[in-house]
Symmetry: C2
Subunit: 217 residues, 2 copies
Amino acid sequence: MVVKVYGPVYSAATRRVLACLIEKGVDFEIKPINIISGEQHSPDYLKLQPFGFVPVIQDGDLTLFESRAILRYYAEKYASQGAELLGKNLEERAIVEQWLEVEGHNYNLPCYTLVVQILYHPKLGLALDHKAIEEAEEKLGKVLDIYEERLSKSKYLAGDFYSLADLSHLSFTNYLVNNAGKDYMIKNRKHVNAWWEDISNRPAWKKVLELGTDGLF
Amino acid sequence: MVVKVYGPVYSAATRRVLACLIEKGVDFEIKPINIISGEQHSPDYLKLQPFGFVPVIQDGDLTLFESRAILRYYAEKYASQGAELLGKNLEERAIVEQWLEVEGHNYNLPCYTLVVQILYHPKLGLALDHKAIEEAEEKLGKVLDIYEERLSKSKYLAGDFYSLADLSHLSFTNYLVNNAGKDYMIKNRKHVNAWWEDISNRPAWKKVLELGTDGLF
């Protein structure tokens, strides 16, 4: 069964899902959604995702949205196929879930602000909100200081094993480091940098990047 | 093994965890944290939760934070004890996870703004930000319109079974309806109101409310 993934290949949330599918060796087909022209608000798309966000997947009878819910589904469905992304037992999974929530609630928002402001606003002809950029950088810096401490004690966020908690950080951190000129936020933190070098060199993530950005960057 | 729950009994995130523990019949002991005086930023607390948020649980050797990660852990650990909160199979769990993510990303933030502005600001002697209140209400209204449509098709968010997706909404919706004067947002939507009447009358939730609010409201 080929999984249909609706979303632009450059969206951070879509890339998060693709990284997981590739880690698990699940075949997929991308159904591009043009979020610049507003296709995510079209009646057809809203039938799949009533909030108008990307991505959505269709897998046989299952239609599923919210990228981290999709990650969990495939990580559990194919637990023994490809990289193990949820740990080996309930307690390890609990710690994976903890850091996946931290990514979703503490890391994602300031990253989103920085990437949208610095990368998208100029392309859309919108002014930069320098105060928002400054506040987001300060907030993200505090989160990264905690990551630095955590990653001085374990190789990955949830322990000494790669998991969804790490994978979920790839998309926005990639834009932050490689496109938004904020690489120093990662590189100036020794353990965060070693972690980033490790996770961003995984073959599955490199395959996501090979899918390109629809010419956007 | 008695689970230690660090947090004030009135915090929405702490109550979310307590509702789950009570549904599952898990014994717990509350270790109050005074977030008004800033105890969540004390060195001892930061050792348990480096971001300075409540709650944290300790269960034998396991220390775990992020309320929704704690929910998942206990719902899975005690899957066959008390109410089944993650569905009966992987596909049902996927839909539970989808709506739990919707709660965390779309519902929680405007609710948080309304509750903090309307309930906490006057108690802390802070001015109300009427623009923020108005924007949060508009945003939450749009989310509730989608819930209304969803709940016209299934009794609960993830299907015809109560789950973590519903449970996770209890804390903030309770403050919204019973303390912040925003009950019309729920009551004016027929299916949302029926859902609220159902979930807020569960014995486990009533037991959470019986723990009181430390005299805060």
